[in-house]
């Protein structure tokens, strides 16, 4: 009797562990499979130039996806990141150009500010946007979905208002280096992405703050009762995603040598998709940076491979949509099993 019961218990444990295992490793395994398939189907897929190309393409949205991982781990969401990218990019561009009057200038002006000031402007605007939303969420108790939906339209509106509609283009080489330069063959945005991913991973896994992010996502009330300031943690994750949106916005404007109010349109969906496909649960408390990097690469590789195979971008959209829904369906299933 006891034997049977304990064996059943063990079997149930194993099933749960399989679910956890899949939640954690489905994205990396699927990524490897895609790489294998595309490299068999197209001889240029693994060419270093193409590899660098994919990496450079994913690194900008990847930066924001890292911040989004923090947010989703606390059981939140940030729909406003695409609009933040537009606003922060313009902030960097105007500062680099030396003022709002320069908005319709195209050439490289002499009177501009040092690049460092442009970076700081983008970061400051991103963090301010995150802080405002963080306050609305933690103090006014408006759900993150609603607050950041408001942010999505409000920040886009501010960007449009600020820019008067046209792009700001033509930066100094110091500026564009951040998007177009290379260090020993590797594009600068890729290096930034890798460094930020490593730091974020260390913060989440090995620091008290990182643990508190997981605790708040797992059981906010319990975290609070145990002396964790859940409000502060929640506020900070929105500031972090704002910071990284600002950074990404600057790198994007450097890569395109231009900033405009329509930059980052719809970016939030790709980013949230990458994070969720990477195994971070929309229910909070489960997931991490490793999965997000895999999710970002998965979407990037899929897009790139399908382009190489001449599959239309409409079909790409459909495929990514289907994968996203499958990932969320699995997340729901895993959460029920955890329940």
């Amino acid at each position: 009797m006891t034997k049977i019961a304990s064996r059943q218990g063990h079997a149930a444990d194993q099933r749960r562990d399989t679910v956890d295992f899949l939640a954690q490793y489905a994205a990396p395994m699927f990524l490897l499979l895609l790489i294998l398939v595309f490299s068999l189907l197209h001889q240029n897929f693994l060419h270093p130039l193409n590899v660098m190309n994919v990496l450079r393409q994913v690194s900008i949205s990847g930066l924001i996806a890292i911040g989004m991982t923090f947010v989703i781990l606390t059981r939140g969401i940030d729909l406003s990141v695409g609009s933040q990218v537009a606003l922060c990019g313009l902030a960097a561009a105007y500062v680099a150009k030396g003022g709002l009057e320069s908005r319709f200038a195209v050439g490289v002006e002499q009177a501009g500010n040092p690049v460092i000031l442009a970076v700081l402007a983008a970061l400051a605007v991103g963090m301010a946007a995150g802080a405002v939303q963080g306050i609305a969420i933690t103090r006014l108790k408006v759900p993150p979905f609603v607050v950041t939906l408001g942010g999505l339209t409000a920040f886009r509106g501010m960007a449009l208002l600020l820019s008067g509609g046209g792009p700001v283009s033509g930066f100094t080489p110091d500026y564009t280096w951040w998007g177009q330069g290379r260090i020993m063959m590797v594009p600068v945005p890729v290096i930034i992405f890798v460094v930020v991913a490593i730091i974020a991973h260390i913060v989440l896994r090995y620091t008290r703050f990182g643990l508190h992010v997981y605790a708040v996502g797992g059981n906010e009330a319990a975290a609070d009762l145990n002396g964790i300031n859940a409000r502060r943690v929640t506020f900070l994750v929105y500031v972090i995603v704002g910071f990284l949106s600002g950074f990404a916005a600057f790198v994007l404007s450097a890569r395109l040598n231009s900033a405009e109010a329509v930059a980052g349109l719809g970016l939030e969906l790709d980013i949230i998709a990458a994070v969720v496909i990477g195994g971070t649960s929309l229910f909070g408390g489960v997931g991490g940076i490793g999965g997000t990097v895999a999710g970002v690469l998965l979407i990037g590789v899929l897009r790139n491979g399908l382009v190489l195979l001449n599959v239309s971008s409409f079909v790409q959209q459909i495929i990514i949509g289907v994968i996203l829904v499958m990932a969320v369906a699995f997340d729901q299933y895993a959460a029920r099993r955890r329940g």
Partner: protein
Amino acid sequence: MAILELSGVSKHFGAIEALNGIDLSLERGEALGLMGDNGAGKSTLVKIIAGTFPPSMGRIVLDGEEVRFARPVEARQKGIEIIYQDLALCDNLSAALNVFLGRELIRKIGPCRFLDRTAMNARAAEIFAELKSETRPRDLVKHMSGGQRQAVAIARTRLVDPKIVLMDEPTAAISVRQVAEVLDLIRHLKTTGHTVILISHRTPDVFSVCDRVAVLRRGRKVADKPIADSSPEEVTGLITGAIEGA
């Protein structure tokens, strides 16, 4: 001198009067059994002592000093530990991390401060061994049985040397053997000068370890007397209302 003294403590949640004019005094090394029907206000009373929320009215004097806790950490810092009825665990974290939640052990490397998981796992394993619990420090709480979860919540109170330990139905989900361990723990706490409030629906437990028993009925204290002067029958009558007061 009393270590803890409550006078006229009331608590209402909107129209609900959860507690009404509670006076309570506890000595060092004393164990009080707090009993009452479901919804009588037992959890509300210990949560007020633990700083989970403030009383609507009344005074709390701890060790001769009036206290007003704004957050549970403040009560913890003053030496009040609590095992919540719902245990307050994070299912997605390991047993050891749950034990140390909010007071993690830290290792410094240069200017950086990192979690010391090794030390936390080791200390948690020691505490679980003391409690004779099978709980493994690295296991996720979501995979644990009710008894193991309870052991995690109990282990939290063993991290520091508190003045007062509040236990809200700590034996509700655990095996006979572990109930005996928890009762032993309470005896041990008493002999080392700690004060305990034990909330339980199990009269035998209360009668075996507590010095006094207090009964709440619909937010009012209807009895508070030495165990020696009472009996399980009297307490049952007080809980149900068959006996008005004692």
